[in-house]
């Protein structure tokens, strides 16, 4: 389980953020005492830090700069300013990503997952029940059988696979698709899922994707 540290001085926001991350299966630790954030950042030994820019004692950007000199733990900056300057400064100080409030929760989770994935060297090819998933070629291969997936189908399958055994809501699927410039509507999503099911069935994987009424889909 990945450990995430939250440095955010607004209590309500911090609480909800912890809740969101815990629900998504991260272990969360949030900073309560802002008199010495830096030493807490070091001692926490977390896998990722969410760092607010406007903090009571010390500016988040200054903290980041100090922290980056010695440690390479991934850091995502959170801020409510809509200006470009903070973004440029943060990135130049070595932030791994930068998200403005109010963030879309699904996108926040995606970004966190992406940053964590980047920091752990992961193999290019994933496998699912004897099927090799190649996201680069956009295809599923089983033995000498190959099924080519469309971009949409691949995005959906990838998300389900990353959360194998967990329910993925339609909302999350939609957010990911839209985030990848596929502006499809509700009906199109259903069509894509049923096509994906057929393709999986052709590879001998019947009923791999289950529908959970009013919740979403799950890859078994």
């Amino acid at each position: 389980m990945n450990k995430i540290m939250i440095v955010e001085d607004d209590k309500a926001l911090c609480e909800e953020l912890s809740l969101l991350l815990e629900k998504s299966g991260y272990s969360v630790r949030s900073v309560k005492d802002f008199s010495d954030v830096y030493s807490q950042m070091i001692s926490a030994n977390s896998d990722l830090i969410l760092l607010d820019i406007n903090l009571p004692k010390e500016n988040g950007e200054v903290l980041l700069q100090k922290f980056r000199k010695k440690y390479d733990t991934p850091v995502i900056m959170l801020t409510s300013s809509a200006g470009d300057i903070d973004e440029v400064v943060s990135m130049s100080y070595g932030a791994d990503d930068y998200i403005t409030k109010p963030y879309n929760p699904t996108i926040l989770l995606l970004r966190i997952a992406a940053v964590l994935k980047r920091s752990v060297k992961s193999g290019q090819l994933q496998e699912y029940k004897g099927v090799i998933v190649s996201s680069i070629k956009g295809s599923l291969v089983k033995g000498d059988q190959e099924q080519v997936l469309t971009k949409n189908e691949m995005l959906i399958f990838q998300l389900l696979l990353d959360h194998q055994g967990e329910i993925v809501s339609r909302d999350e699927l939609m957010t990911v698709l839209w985030d990848n410039d596929e502006y499809i509507n509700d009906n199109a999503l259903s069509v894509n899922i049923s096509r994906l099911r057929n393709k999986l069935a052709d590879l001998g994987l019947q009923d791999a994707i289950e529908t959970r009424k009013k919740q979403g889909y799950i890859l078994i």
């Binding site: 309500a12 909800e16 969101l20 809509a82 470009d84 409030k101 109010p102 929760p105 502006y183 509507n185």
Partner: protein
């Protein structure tokens, strides 16, 4: 200052001189001085007046002409007093001094208001910053408690967020400070950010989105352009037709080395008579009268931001059929160099 003006101005002085001279001649005649001495006195007197007048005319003429020419040429007329060198006659000196103190008082006054405006703007920025925090909390609360209402709640949260952004960008667009950052930006990225942010609202309204040719880079400020496109999208949803599902189509084309972004919807459109005024402040027009959400500020801010970024924006529409906005990005090689 022409000679005519000058002569006209001095008419009374000549009149007085003529009377005095006439009296002198009467006296001379009374003392039985006649003939040649009178002519000599007259000639000397005329010579004195003419030479004095020529000298006087010259130095004034130079001074006044400089004033007139500089005022005509100056873009900001109030710089006049800084452009003048002090003349050697009293009225000129007096005028210069007065201009100088008027200017000084005006500059002080303008600075007072500048300070007030920038204080207010700073406060707005701070306020926006503060207001975004509870909005962020609300979004997370809604996400952490998924249910039937959360979609609707999200749409309303989005509306609050849009209103907050409106205030921020209005404050930014009205102020002279240059706080945009122009660089090469992908239209695709900008549009997808806006689309994701508006997804819930679009889906609830049953809208459809198609894009074409957005794989282009333009020189702009990313955040500002996102706000602009977001405004257009919000408008499309606000003025959707009830007769058919909303279709928004966005495409980009290269025309004469400019990139043009077309943003088109199939909404209720804009009445032809209203078209020339849609970018004006507080103009709500025909659509505004039938929609209470119109403030007449959205497009005004959009136009203002476009002007400051150097983008052209225009609109075409047919009532009950479509509305199309065109944003023109100049392919500015100058920007790229820096």
């Amino acid at each position: 200052m022409t000679i005519r003006d000058y002569l006209k101005d001095r008419l009374i002085a000549y009149f007085i001189w003529a009377i005095c001279h006439a009296i002198t001649i009467i006296f001379l005649l009374a003392y039985k001085v006649g003939g040649q001495p009178i002519i000599v006195v007259t000639v000397i007197s005329i010579m004195a007046v003419v030479s004095h007048e020529i000298w006087n005319l010259n130095r004034r003429k130079n001074f006044y002409n400089i004033i007139r020419k500089t005022t005509e040429e100056l873009d900001q007329k109030y710089f006049l007093s800084e452009m003048l060198s002090e003349p050697d006659f009293y009225e000129g000196k007096f005028l210069c001094d007065t201009l100088y103190s008027c200017n000084k008082s005006m500059v002080e006054n303008v600075n007072k208001y500048k300070k007030k405006a920038s204080d207010f703007r700073e406060y707005i920025e701070l306020w926006v910053h503060e207001a975004k925090i509870p909005v962020a909390s609300l979004r997370l609360i809604s996400h952490n408690n998924l249910g039937v209402v959360s979609d609707k709640v999200n749409v309303q949260i989005k509306r609050i967020d849009d209103c907050i952004d409106n205030v921020l960008y209005y404050a930014r667009s009205e102020n002279a400070e240059k706080d945009y950052n122009i660089k090469e930006v992908s239209l695709k990225k900008v549009f997808s950010n806006v689309a994701v942010r508006n997804r819930e609202a679009l889906q609830l309204s049953g809208g459809n989105l198609t894009t074409y040719g957005l794989d282009r880079e333009v020189m702009t400020d990313k955040k500002w352009l996102e706000f602009i496109v977001g405004q257009l999208m919000a408008n499309s949803m606000k003025y959707a037709s009830v007769k058919r599902p909303l279709e928004i189509s966005v495409k980009a084309k290269e025309v004469d080395s400019n990139v043009i972004l077309y943003f088109r919807d199939n909404g209720i459109g804009i009445v032809e008579a209203d078209l020339p005024y849609v970018f004006e402040k507080s103009f709500t027009g025909h659509n505004g009268r039938s929609n209470s959400e119109s403030t007449g500020m959205g497009l005004y801010i959009v136009k203002n931001l476009c002007d400051r970024l150097g983008h052209g924006i225009s609109v075409s529409s047919k009532e009950n059929e479509y509305t199309e906005f065109q944003i023109t990005f100049a392919r500015n090689e100058f920007y790229k160099m820096s």
